[in-house]
């Protein structure tokens, strides 16, 4: 067993991969037994991608069933499934959505016409529309406390923000390559792309890096020795809405199970002692 941390192993795998080559097929496995539902992935994602309110590339589905004290709780982290057979890309009239680096479903802001067909086609509600220029509050000229606090606009001016070249919502992380736009703007859609700007720098997606429980395993499905294939070899995989036939590349293993029950009720099963 390797003494290296899981993150280090995955980063090493990433470094060896030729992302631009056709042979790489990136995937993420989420181990629901390890996941504690702390939402660090969501916070990290929002921070990394400078997301504004109402937008969450990384999110979760919480399901509670039953009545106290017999209540089940299910926490499923979600993100764009980077579907193998991506309906968003197929229905995009201008190829703004396409299969790109590492077989990730990529989005080209400059080709997007804002028709929203991808949002209708995505079975997972994982595509978001920039309805307005982001962080509009930076233009507000009213202070939270009059004569007490500075207005957002004053803060921006005092900080010397260059609105033309690097506005307040400028995100240098996303300028690492030409695959993303550092300043999101209105009228186009957005989605998770496994933090491709980080991958190009041989860094893991931010949600993977942030996870304190190492519940997210990231790597190349086409590499038989990759960590993702090692996990998939040990556990049955599950995907969201399998019946849709989109072949998601975000897969889940193990169910969260926080307890146990006494097995001595009812008739014994096959193989159980009397």
């Amino acid at each position: 067993m390797s003494s290296e941390s899981l993150d280090a192993q995955m980063a090493a795998e990433l470094e060896e991969s030729d992302l631009e080559g056709e042979g790489v097929n990136l995937s993420m496995i989420i181990d629901l037994q390890r996941c504690t539902g702390c939402a660090a992935c969501n916070m990290g994602c929002a921070s990394e991608n400078n997301l504004q309110e109402g937008m969450a590339y990384s999110s979760r589905i919480i399901k509670t069933e039953g009545q106290f004290p017999n209540v089940s709780y299910e926490y499923t982290p979600t993100l764009c499934n980077q579907c193998e057979d991506a309906p968003c890309a197929e229905g995009c009239p201008t190829k703004a959505l396409y299969k790109g680096t590492g077989n990730i479903t990529m989005h080209d802001h400059e080709k997007c016409i804002g028709c929203k067909a991808c949002m209708v086609n995505c079975p997972y509600d994982e595509i978001y529309l920039n309805k307005e220029d982001p962080h509009p509050t930076w233009e507000v000229e009213e202070a939270a406390i009059e004569n007490g606090t500075a207005t957002p606009k004053e803060v921006k001016e005092r900080a010397g923000v260059d609105m033309d070249n690097a506005p307040a919502y400028y995100n240098p992380n996303r300028e690492a390559s030409d695959t993303e736009h550092p300043t999101r703007y209105k009228g186009v859609v957005e989605k998770c792309n496994f933090c491709v700007h980080r991958l190009e720098e041989n860094e893991l997606p931010r949600c993977v890096e942030e996870c304190p429980c190492e519940a997210r395993i990231f790597g190349d499905l086409n590499d038989p020795d990759s960590k993702v294939n090692e996990i998939l070899g040990q556990y049955n995989e599950d995907v969201l809405k399998e019946d849709e036939g989109t072949e998601p590349k975000v897969k889940y293993v193990r169910d969260y199970n926080g307890g146990s029950y006494e097995a001595d009720y009812g008739e014994p099963g096959l193989g159980e002692s009397q």
């Binding site: 589905i61 201008t94 703004a96 016409i113 309805k131 009228g187």
Partner: protein, 439 residues
Amino acid sequence: MHGVRATPDEMYECLFNCFWVVAMSQSTERSPGLLDDLPSGKRFYSWLVFIAVGLLIGAYGVLITLLEGTTTLGLTDQVPWGILISTYVFFALLSTGICIGITSLSSVFGMEKYDPLVKRGIFLSLITLAAGGLVIMAGLGQPFRAIPQMLLSPNPAAPMWWMIVLYSIYGGALAAEFVLIDQFDDPPEKVSKTVAVVALIAPILAGAMLGAIFGTAEARPYYGGMFASVFLLVTAVASGVALITAVTALERKFSTKTRAVVSEELLTQTLGKYLGVMAAVVLLLTGLRHVYGLVATNEALALAHQEMLFGGTGVVSVGVGIVLGLLVPLALMAYPKTRTVNGVLAASALVLVGMFASRFEFVVGGQVAALTADNFHEFPVASYVPSATEFAIVIAGIALFALLYTAGRELFDLDQLPHHEEDEMTHTDAVTDGGQADE
């Protein structure tokens, strides 16, 4: 009759420049007195004021959306297509339906009883396409990129791309067809027929592709897969027949020229019965859609139908879309005593209002059942209420349609009969007897 006899070369040159010719045709040789005979009087000026107010409201809606972005629209990440898309579908299918259901019967299949409706029908098809184009462009996030990107980065796998291509071809064919009737007394039969066939096939395919945009969204079973194309094409014919019937019935009230070519029988017997049959067919299809949906074991599908029929939008879906828009017109046209000119006018107007509501029900219904219980989203029902700006853009489309039609009826003789290879006298016979000779 007026105009010139054209050689094939001249014809092709003309077709190449058809849009230009349409725009400039007011200055070319044409029947005298059209522009000199502009209507006046309180009623006409009130109509113009009505259009101007509509355009002003519409311009506000379009401009504010261009400046501020789609935040002015009532859309959400769960319901990204709202009343602007349904209004576009309404207009595009009006255009489609007129061509498939009325004008091609004359221009392709030679049914001369429909001759008096052809030129007006082609013109209505063109301007409904324009109105639909305005509404959908206004709702795009990046409207100025749309056409360039469709050309520079086409995706032939996407039904939307095909729809745009086919509607563009269709628009060209319509313009050419209009020019052939308006500018030439005796256009070569081959050219006329070719253009007419294109103007029949292109809208069938375009309408089918419009349906495919919804039908291929497999995550949204409310649209019904390939049934979406069938449903939209059939309902297109119903709405197209309703529009040309309503406009012709109105024109007949105001214009002696229209009265001269459009017999009462054509309206009450042919169009009235046609409308009644189409209302019945649409009623059946709509009923089947909802019954299949309500009894479905797919919970999201059943929920969507329940929400659209019995939820907040039930008044629109059932009250306007089904009762007012289908049942009442069907009753009016089925009962001989109400199948009068006024009855036909009322029935066709009601079908139009009903189809507008039906488009809204169809488009929004596919999105009301939330796809995931994500904490960021509404679940299990995603809500949508059109914003004032969306209504303003809808008004822009309607006002543009009204403006173009008003201008068109002044600039062109929309009652002009198309030329057929056969003896021209048959036109008059067919018209004055309301098409009985054909039956």
